[in-house]
Symmetry: C2
Subunit: 327 residues, 2 copies
């Protein structure tokens, strides 16, 4: 069964691909045998992350990049985890107009992910969607996300090349940058560069980049005005330049293996978390414990201890059972 | 031992409280017996969440609110998980000046949390820090966070009253709001209300609130200029008004119990995730599996399957072992 579906998938069946993505999003572990086969057929795509605050123009940039990649005959996949993006359901209707290049082209596959409430976090899902697109033959995969929180930083770690989009006059956002965005960016884009203060933003970013250690990749800071396509070719060129560097230094390969390892851990965590939730919803004894906590008859620590004792034979999981003390 | 430390903690020993928080942050399960005692002494504090984009002025608002709460003899705790906040290490040095009211007052306890790389996410840690502050006698606990990603939304769920801070001219941020922030906010603050467009932002927010179902709490939209204390008294009043509503409708109690249940699940997840990471780092057989994935000799799915098989006796965790298929 898996074999037949796999063949269909590999021959380009969009319906199977979409269904598989849906199952992955739902955390359905019955797709693991299929995903195992798929993961063995990945590693060819170049993965581009694009992140930045809501309203920075990420989706417009993505749209223009899709156009350039398609013009150069790359097959393109897009994964969107930005609640403010026109790709996702969260956006106002009119915004979809911005995504003109993604529609009606069978070699562009767009997938939006709801970013709330996923058991075990979003990142494992995004990794799997990227794998599906990779095995499905997409050569360029763009992951769009809002770049502030931890969930988003985790997501961006799937990328080979990360674009960080800023807009002029961000002021205090510089603090946030310093606190984490700087280290994950490979290319900075200052979008809406016709606005006042654009040159200052470019200069400030370049000043921050002067702090980078010698010998490391120095991100370019590229002003764009995505709405009228200004500067997009330069972004495109910078992406390919960064890719060449990764391949020459063998980092392209190394990062893939590191991501495989991280993905392996994500899956284990996801499996066990799902197991806990399923069991506490099904087994009367465990349901009762959870209800006692919900009624205030049992503190959450004792509740957790009791459920873990019932679920897992290993005493080590419940370390405190040995009379742990505050050290 | 736990008893002695608990007594010291309950008598107001700041050193013990800080140490306990440190252990909680590190995911040290040996504090569970102590935390169990602590959790039995919680439920008195009113928890205020404050969220919004970097640069919106959250920290300044928190600072002015601290002043008002102290003036009214409330004991105050602050938990900060905003990478751009002056409370955290990520901020530029000069920013600490903004937090003038938090320093030198023994009845204000401020704790900053690093927001990256925590196993099992940030939210469980924040909940525990809040519990510690609660049992420590803080009557008002303010949790500051950046409000975009999933990690942050999870964090904000610990709050009784959630303040969402916006600034004039946010434009496209409205989309993000629509996609999730709207439903978690109890009070909207439009800070920097001396700026152009402030009235429009207040109006737009009020228009969005018109969509709320009849009979639900309608968040006030309060313009502030925190730097010169304008509008802060109104925010303070609105918080107490919201608290009264929660108590009258019994929601205050219900939310606490619901949070206990969620916390119970967080702890179970955290325990099992820690266990997986510890074991794969210690047991030679498991280490070898992870290394095979890292070297590209084994796909991550088989890696996860093999580790789970070794670690957990329950066959149910490894559902795919029964020949799961894509349905």
């Amino acid at each position: 069964m898996t074999k037949e579906l796999l063949d269909k998938f590999l021959s380009g069946d969009t319906f199977i691909a979409s269904k598989l993505m849906k199952q992955v999003e739902n955390g359905d572990q019955s797709v693991w045998p299929m995903m195992r086969e798929i993961s063995r057929r990945t590693g060819n795509a170049h993965i581009i992350g694009i992140t930045g605050p809501p309203g920075a123009g990420k989706s417009t940039i993505v749209d223009k990049l899709i156009y350039l990649f398609r013009e150069n005959h790359y097959k393109v996949g897009v994964v969107c985890v930005d609640p403010s993006s026109p790709f996702t359901g969260g956006a106002f209707l009119g915004d979809r107009i911005r995504m003109s290049h993604a529609t009606g082209d069978k070699d562009v596959f767009v997938r939006s992910l709801a970013n709330r409430g996923a058991l075990g976090g979003l990142a494992p899902r995004v990794k799997e969607i990227v794998q599906i697109l990779d095995a499905f033959g997409k050569e360029i995969i763009i992951v769009e996300t809002v770049g502030v929180g931890q969930a988003e930083s985790d997501v961006i770690h799937v990328a080979d090349t990360t674009l960080v989009v800023e807009v002029p006059g961000m002021g205090d956002r510089m603090q946030a940058l310093k606190a984490g965005i700087l280290e994950i960016s490979d290319i900075f884009i200052v979008n809406k560069c016709d606005r006042e203060g654009a040159q200052n933003t470019v200069r400030d970013l370049n000043m921050m980049l002067d702090w980078l250690p010698e010998g490391s990749w120095r991100p370019k800071v590229l002003p764009t005005n995505a709405l009228n396509n200004q500067g997009i070719q330069e972004v495109y060129d910078a992406i390919l330049e960064h890719k060449s560097m990764l391949i020459q230094t063998n980092k392209w390969k190394e990062q893939r293996l590191q991501r495989s390892k991280n993905h392996c851990f994500s899956m284990m965590e996801q499996a066990v978390i799902s197991y806990i939730h399923k069991k506490t919803g099904e087994v009367p004894e465990l349901k009762k414990i959870v209800e006692s906590v919900l009624e205030g008859d049992l503190d959450p620590y004792s509740g957790a201890e009791n459920v873990l004792k019932e679920l897992f034979s290993s005493a080590e999981i419940i370390k405190y059972g040995k009379g742990g003390q505050i050290k």
